[in-house]
């Protein structure tokens, strides 16, 4: 027994075991210090309905609402017949309409239910008309038949800011231009400079720092200082959101961009053809 304990082999084994245990202890300590969870890319699914163009003129042709009250003209300062209904969005009790005076058809106003326009209070929205009240009487404002191909886009309002402009006819972007830019992206950065703007840790949007005068981007109505916050109804809260739009741009026939300009939301619509 004495001989075994004194043997050099046992001494070596003991030392090796000690070293093994020490190594294990050191690594257990390290394991204790190191993180135990992996980092995965979190992508937020967008449940907002994608932007779609709606041709209201087609809706008018197909649907005829029977229960609508015939327009009644009363002697008021401003007659209901002097108004033009240019667009509507929403249901009977919730939504907005775009309305203008016939004498100034391009000067549109957005009226929500319960709001007053020229002395008439918007009561409800039907499929092809809007019902106003004044003096306890109902007045129905119907769509004027539109030319084929023209349309008015549905308009949404932000809770914080009002839409500044609602273009009824979009700018046009050619697919050839998009193809040229995608082949040589350096062209894009020669004409426009964009950087992210953060609110805390979250991306608020993408700011246009520089835009070359006379460039295609400038012609499209973008301006230096604009903060792009939405594209096709998708809030741009990450580079991924922006790149998803960029990657699929060839599949789109229209793109809607919402920019924050002078603290007001401005909607820009482009037709891709």
């Amino acid at each position: 027994m004495k001989k075994i304990s004194n043997s050099s082999l046992l001494a070596i084994i003991t030392r090796l075991l000690v070293l093994l245990v020490v190594a294990k202890f050191i690594m257990v300590g390290l394991w204790w210090y190191l993180p135990s969870d992996s980092i995965e890319l979190k992508t937020k699914n967008n449940f907002i309905q994608a932007y779609k163009r709606i041709d209201f003129s087609n809706m008018i042709k197909k649907d005829k609402v029977k229960e609508v009250v015939k327009p009644k003209v009363v002697s008021t300062d401003v007659s209901i017949t002097s108004m033009l209904l240019k667009g509507l969005y929403g249901s009977k009790k919730k939504g907005y309409i775009i309305v203008a005076m016939k004498r100034k058809p391009k000067s549109t106003s957005i009226i929500g239910i319960g709001e007053v326009f020229q002395g008439y209070t918007l009561k409800s929205i039907l499929k092809q008309s809007a019902v106003f009240t004044r003096g306890g009487k109902n007045f129905v404002l119907e769509f004027k038949k539109m030319k084929k191909g023209s349309y008015i886009k549905p308009v949404r309002r932000s809770n914080k800011n009002k839409m500044k402009a609602v273009p009824s006819i979009p700018n046009r972007v050619s697919k050839k231009d998009i193809s040229d830019y995608s082949k040589d992206p350096s062209k894009i950065w020669r004409e426009i400079s964009i950087s992210e703007v953060k609110e805390g840790k979250k991306i608020k949007g993408f700011k246009i720092n520089r835009i070359k005068a006379g460039s295609k981007f400038a012609v499209l109505g973008l301006r230096q200082g604009d903060l792009i916050i939405k594209a096709n109804n998708v809030r741009l809260e990450s580079y991924r959101d922006a790149m998803n739009i960029y990657k699929n741009i060839n599949k789109l026939d229209a793109i809607e961009i919402v920019v924050l300009r002078n603290n007001q939301e401005v909607e820009l619509v482009y037709e891709i053809n």
Binding site: M27, L30, I39, E40, L41, P185, R240
Partner: protein
Amino acid sequence: MVKMMKFFSYSIFFIVMLIYFMPKVNAYYFLENELKKHEVIISGEEFTDTGYSLVINHPTLSLKSIDTAKAGVVDVKIYALYNSINISEIYLSSMASTFIPLKIQNLNISYSIIDPLNINGVAYGEFGEIRAKFDLMKMAARVILSPSKLMLKKYTKTLRNFKKSKSGEYIYEKNI
């Protein structure tokens, strides 16, 4: 002399045991946390701790939340005196298709005690072959590209960022 040999042998054994017991997956998580600070995220990966190396299968690299590259197998070896990362079958995102061919067959990055002041890299794929060296003292990178026919034909704009040497290689240098 015998004592020296014994000490050397025990030291080797201790280092081997340290490597074997190293919590490689957790060390990888630590690396992921560090990369996250630079908005680089590696996700979708599967791990195999082989004892002496960490094998990561099918990772996806995202930069600023954009999927940038996908790899087949990443083999990480940390042996203190020699460390290497070998990545095979890298597919870059289609967004990079205007700059570079998308498939990289293999990328190897290594750091060895024999060349302690440099980190070396070798990659080959549809673009040709790249040999890179990062000088840790000067904090300078030097990339030498031997372009493929495809690279020379279709990606001339990318090659403009390189300087052409007399031997026909393309050199890119940058101080960080």
